[in-house]
């Protein structure tokens, strides 16, 4: 079994290797190889899952040590895996959804001559992501962490000929790097405090931490949060996610909805021991989560680009998860649960969006959609189910997972609990609003289609089976997953041994919360219907209120970055280049020049006249004589 864990990672890695070095001869078969290896990896995952279910709770954690990576005295980095319920959940999600999206891409990328490379990157991503969730120490996790960053970079910028794509990819990687600083400093702190960064060593030792080390632990918490913000597009490092939609839609579905962006949630949940010991860090986490869930939702309302709207929603949903994770034992389980259900329905929604674009000559502006339900029924249905799930329609996945989080937020207790709870509720309302908006603008109302750049009239049509099947599967997931998990709280029992769980004491009863969510849901939907359903949607966006305009521009946060960081940076570098030339180099060249000048001046003494030479000799003699006498005098 242990070896199987390794193979789990190895399979997609092998695929990436083959596809990226294979060359043109693999162009025709490449996508199949990639998909196959993804499925293989999924198969392994299922086997391991079955095996794990077979064991009783205590023995469920599997570990396998492969080799010593970096051994330098105290610093002993191992390459070792640890498969417990938490990682298992992720492994299933990653390989499952991953495989589906591989299949989907076969159809979606059918006409791209670089499809082989695309699948190579997808496999690379799977490998890295699996490494991330299977690592048994932070250092290896860091490797996976950056690995998914690379894969995401490659996939966002897959259509490199589009400058916008290239820029978006670069932006994503660099913003993530900022987060990575957090992770690496966190690891360094662990090393200097506990002398190790392996989960098995660190978590027990956190408990022993005392005195000033509490501050250190809090510091570690903050650093990990920074990392999570980067990877999971949380405020203030969320700016890259919107642009990341430049990538092919399957990428958005897999990486920027279902899996990679949730790595932050994984990190925090995995580090529960640390966060439990650092209340301040937890407060920071919930704050970030709450802010982001509103931020994302608001942004989602204003976007006309279907993918960007969904991206906003992703941001917001992950906000929920982060907040939940920040709540501590009350929330971990639900964070992960929401993560999984979100994985299903958000992937489904994205694939749906992809299918729509597929039918509409890659048009992304929802104002140019409309009335598509009859043209692409399957897409409509699956997308619709995803929609119902995300807004938390009773009985569907989102309903279970999200309500739990809202409850947990209240359960936090005190003013904090109230604030968080109401924020979560407000978020739910806005979610209902913007998702309904997307739904209506895309599938209802009248046609607002327009010919694309080459003037082709769009001929919307249902997508091929390779694309629809995964959508259907995901739709099933989005409908039933939540229910299944909640049957006598199976999911809680499943994860509890890893993350721990406590009910907390909610000031408001479950029923009240559910009622509240229902209310806000109805309000949100109704409002959206009133704005977009009843009257026709203008094909060009109205100027809109100040807030709308701000929201369209990601609440100006991007502009801030641009002005402060990008422009400022450019000025800094330009002036430094100038300084390096004129000052640092100038000093040296100046010295050289002055020596030259001195030389030129001294030369003139050598004027060619014997008598002046004689003068210098006589003068010299006088000097020497005088000096000699002086030496005796003093």
């Amino acid at each position: 079994m242990e070896t199987l864990i390794g193979l789990l990672v190895a399979a997609p890695l092998l695929g990436a290797g083959i596809l990226l070095t294979g060359g043109r001869r693999l162009d025709r078969t490449g996508h199949l190889i990639g998909t196959l290896l993804a499925l293989v990896s999924f198969a392994f995952a299922v086997v391991l899952f079955a095996d794990m279910l077979g064991k009783d709770t205590a023995q469920r954690t599997l570990t396998s040590h492969l080799w010593t990576w970096v051994p330098v005295e105290g610093f002993q980095a191992q390459v070792g895996f640890q498969l417990d319920q938490l990682s298992m959940t992720f492994v299933l999600l990653i390989t499952g959804v991953g495989s589906l999206i591989h299949i989907y891409s076969i159809g979606y990328m059918a006409h791209d001559e670089r499809r082989r490379r695309f699948f190579g990157y997808l496999n690379l991503f799977l490998a890295a992501m699996l490494l991330l969730v299977l690592a048994d120490n932070y250092f290896l996790l860091y490797a996976g962490w950056e690995g998914v960053g690379l894969a995401s970079y490659l996939l966002i910028g897959f259509w490199q000929h589009k400058p916008s794509a290239a820029t978006a990819a670069k932006k994503a990687f660099i913003v993530n790097r900022v987060g990575d600083i957090g992770l690496s400093i966190g690891i360094m702190l662990m090393f200097t405090t506990f002398g190790s960064f392996a989960f098995a060593d660190v978590f027990p030792k956190v408990a022993q931490a005392s005195g000033t080390q509490h501050a250190t632990v809090t510091g570690i918490g903050f650093m990990l949060l920074l990392a999570a913000c980067g990877k999971s597009a949380q405020v203030p490092l969320q700016s890259w996610l919107g642009d990341a939609m430049e990538g092919p839609t399957p990428v958005s579905a897999l990486i920027h909805a279902a899996t990679m962006v949730t790595a932050g949630v994984y990190l925090i949940t995995r580090s529960s021991a640390i966060f439990n010991a650092a209340p301040d860090a937890q407060t920071a986490v919930v704050t970030v989560g709450a802010v982001t869930l509103l931020f994302g939702a608001i942004v989602g309302c204003a976007k006309d680009d279907i993918k960007k709207a969904l991206a906003g929603s992703t941001m917001s949903q992950i906000g929920y998860m982060i907040m939940a994770a920040g709540l501590g034992p009350i929330g971990y389980v639900f964070a992960i649960m929401h993560l999984v259900t979100h994985g299903f329905f958000k992937a489904g929604l994205f694939l749906g969006a992809g299918s729509v674009m597929h039918g509409m000559n890659d048009e992304v502006d929802m104002r140019r959609y409309g009335a598509l339900r009859s043209y692409m029924p399957i897409t409509f249905v699956t997308f619709g189910l995803g929609y119902l799930a995300i807004i938390g329609f009773p009985g569907l996945s989102g309903f279970f997972s999200k309500d739990k989080i809202i409850e947990a937020a209240f359960a936090k207790g005190g003013g904090e609990g109230w604030i968080l709870g109401s924020a979560a509720l407000l978020g739910a309302a806005i979610t209902a609003f913007y998702m309904t908006r997307v739904m209506i603008m895309t599938f209802f109302g009248e046609k607002r289609w327009q010919p694309d750049a080459e003037g082709h009239e769009p001929h919307p049509h249902e997508s091929p089976a390779t694309m629809t099947v995964p959508m259907i599967v995901l739709a099933f997931g989005s409908v039933f997953a939540g229910g299944l998990f909640s049957i006598n709280s199976a999911f809680v029992k499943w994860l509890e041994p890893v993350t721990g769980h406590s009910e907390g004491n909610s000031p408001v009863s479950t029923a009240t919360v559910t009622a509240g969510t229902m209310v806000v849901l109805v309000v949100g939907v109704a409002l959206a219907w009133a704005m977009y359903g009843r009257r026709p949607v203008p094909a060009v966006a109205p100027r809109g209120s100040l807030l709308t305009r701000a929201a369209r521009r990601d609440l100006l946060q991007d502009d801030f970055n641009h002005v402060v960081l990008v422009r400022g940076g450019e000025h800094l570098t330009r002036s430094l280049v100038y300084l390096d030339h004129s000052l640092v180099d100038g000093v040296v060249n100046g010295t050289a020049a002055s020596v030259g000048g001195l030389s030129g001046r001294l030369r003139r003494v050598q004027n060619g006249y014997v008598r002046s030479y004689a003068v210098s000799m006589l003068g010299g003699t006088a000097l020497v004589v005088a000096a000699t006498l002086l030496m005796r005098a003093v």
């Binding site: 050289a592 020596v595 030259g596 001195l598 030389s599 030129g600 001294l602 030369r603 003494v605 050598q606 060619g608 014997v610 002046s612 030479y613 004689a614 210098s616 000799m617 003068g619 010299g620 003699t621 000097l623 020497v624 004589v625 000096a627 000699t628 006498l629 030496m631 005796r632």
Partner: protein, 557 residues
């Protein structure tokens, strides 16, 4: 007193006897006792020189060249053999003593320097004798010396001389006389001998400078400048000698140092002069000045660039190498044998001179545009480095200076020999701009010159580095670390202009009408080859020569 004086007086002690005889009868007329064997190198050289003069007088013109070349080479070789023999006999170390009744010291430094000078001279003779470089005049190969020194440049007389195929073969005897003087100079053990030796090697050099075949105006100008300034400086030297004589009542090194140390038997006369340190110090200063002029130390260096540039390049090479060796030898002996007691007086002054020499030499060289002037200034800078070694005032100091002189002189000879090869219509093309792209046209010559430049710059694995390290090491151990620092900085400045030449030769495109590199006869080739060989050998395996210099590092008193 008279007895003691008689004992220590030199060749002229005899005459002192004359004076004494007034008091006591003529029976006490001591015959001067000369150790001919130990003076043999000098005697051989002078002998051969005289023979050379006779050859000039009596041999038919067509045979003179061959005869002179053979004579000089053989004579110098013989002299060198004599030096070796003396060294073998141990005159350099154990049997070192003062010969010729106190006039000449035969000891380690003497023999080492005499050997060096003789080798340098041999190589110089080869370059003197080169006859392939200039285009043939009237079907005859001609060397780089004027057909007839007395003929006015461009006059019919000169044309006639050229047509008649005159050549000034007298340069060889002149060279030999100069060498003779140089052999005595570092060996001189009393101030008179010092002065005479100085003149003996200077006068022929003055004439040699005037004898260039091309650019005769510059050549004559060089001669005039060299002569007038030389005479001027020797006047200082002489006055200094006079004062020292006045102080010590003798010109013998040994006696003077004894008087300085106060170990000499007092006489009333001495008593009232020794009290007067002004005599001593001024004398010391002026004698030193005379020698510093010869080594070309700042501020007595101003003749060097002009003379080096104007003189016929083979002569320049010889002067630059041999004069420095001889003069530094003399300076060393003066400072270490006569004036050790006054170390605290002359050291600070020479510190100043050394620093000025190193820095100013290097700095002025930076903007030079003529190869020969460039090398002249670099030789000034090097004089400064050597002075740093002199200032170590220790045995290692002496030996390091000896080694440096040997290393430096061959690099210099080689460099100037290469300069003679690069020619255009107007003779040697010494302006740097003409050297552009030489590395492309004739890589070998350029490479060789580059080696010499790197040696000058003191890059490791060349003799220049070994020498520089030796003197700086000695200086540092002698507590002159500041000198080392200054030396290091100025060698950095110096490196700049050596590098500039290399850049010019290798990295810039050749000029269309650029100079051609003349294919030399075996003579010059040999000279250059020797230069390269010595540069590399002293750079890679200096141990043997260091030992030699080390053994030779002791002055006899």
């Amino acid at each position: 007193m008279s007895a003691s004086v008689t004992r220590v007086q030199g060749a002229h002690g005899a005459v002192h006897g004359l004076w004494a005889q007034a008091a006591a009868g003529p029976d006490r007329f001591p015959t001067p006792h000369i150790e001919y064997a130990q003076l043999s190198p000098v005697l051989i050289v002078f002998g051969v020189a005289c023979v050379g003069i006779l050859a000039e007088a009596f041999l038919p013109r067509r045979n003179r060249y061959t005869a002179q070349v053979v004579l000089s080479v053989v004579g110098l070789a013989a002299a060198f053999a004599a030096v070796i023999a003396l060294a073998e006999k141990g005159y350099g170390t154990t049997k070192a003593h003062i010969a010729a009744m106190g006039a000449v010291a035969v000891d380690g430094p003497t023999l080492f320097l005499q050997g060096t000078i003789l080798l340098v001279a041999v190589v110089a003779v080869l370059t003197f004798a080169e006859r392939r470089l200039d285009p043939m005049a009237h079907g005859r190969h001609v060397d780089s010396f004027a057909a007839q020194g007395s003929a006015v440049p461009g006059s019919d007389q000169e044309k006639a001389a050229v047509r008649a195929g005159f050549t000034s073969t007298e340069v060889f005897p002149l060279l030999l006389f100069a060498v003779g003087g140089m052999l005595i100079f570092p060996a001189a053990n009393d101030l008179l001998t010092l002065f005479v030796a100085l003149e003996v090697f200077s006068l022929p050099l003055y004439i040699l400078c005037a004898l260039a075949r091309r650019n005769r105006l510059m050549s004559q100008e060089a001669a005039v400048k060299y002569f007038l300034l030389g005479a001027f400086s020797s006047a200082f030297l002489l006055f200094g000698i006079a004062l020292l004589y006045g102080f010590a009542g003798s010109v013998s090194y040994g006696q003077i140092s004894r008087v300085i140390d106060g170990t000499a038997p007092m006489t009333p006369a001495l008593a009232n002069t020794t009290g007067n340190d002004a005599l001593l110090l001024i004398g010391l200063a002026m004698v030193t000045v005379g020698l510093l002029f010869k080594v070309g130390a700042v501020p007595f260096h101003m003749w060097t660039p002009d003379v080096y540039q104007g003189a016929p390049t083979p002569v320049t090479g010889f002067m630059a190498a041999a004069t420095k060796v001889a003069a530094f030898g003399a300076l060393l002996r003066l400072l270490y044998v006569v004036l050790p007691g006054l170390r605290w007086d002359w050291r600070p002054v020479l510190w100043g001179v050394a620093i000025a020499t190193m820095v100013i030499g290097a700095v002025i060289a930076v903007t030079q545009t003529d190869v020969k002037r460039l090398l002249a200034y670099s030789s000034v800078a090097h004089a400064g480095f050597i002075l740093a070694g002199v200032l170590a005032t220790s045995r290692t100091g002496v030996s390091s200076v000896l080694f440096y002189l040997a290393a430096y002189s061959f690099v210099t000879l080689g460099a100037f020999a290469v300069v003679t090869l690069v020619r255009d219509a107007g003779g040697e093309a010494t302006h740097l701009s003409r050297w552009a792209g030489l590395g492309r046209r004739s890589p070998l010559v350029a490479a060789v010159f580059a080696v010499f430049l790197l040696a000058f710059a003191g890059i490791p694995l060349t003799s220049g580095f070994a020498g520089k390290f030796a003197v700086f090491k000695a200086a540092a151990q002698g507590g002159a670390m500041p000198l080392v620092i200054v030396g290091v900085i100025s060698s950095a400045i110096a490196a700049f202009f050596y590098v500039r030449v290399i850049v010019l030769m290798f990295f810039s495109e050749p000029k269309v009408d650029g100079p051609s590199v003349a294919v030399p006869s075996p003579l010059t080739s040999t000279a250059i080859a020797i230069g390269v060989a010595v540069t590399l050998v002293l750079g890679l395996a200096p141990q043997y020569f260091l030992d030699l210099a080390d053994k030779a590092g002791v002055f006899v008193r």
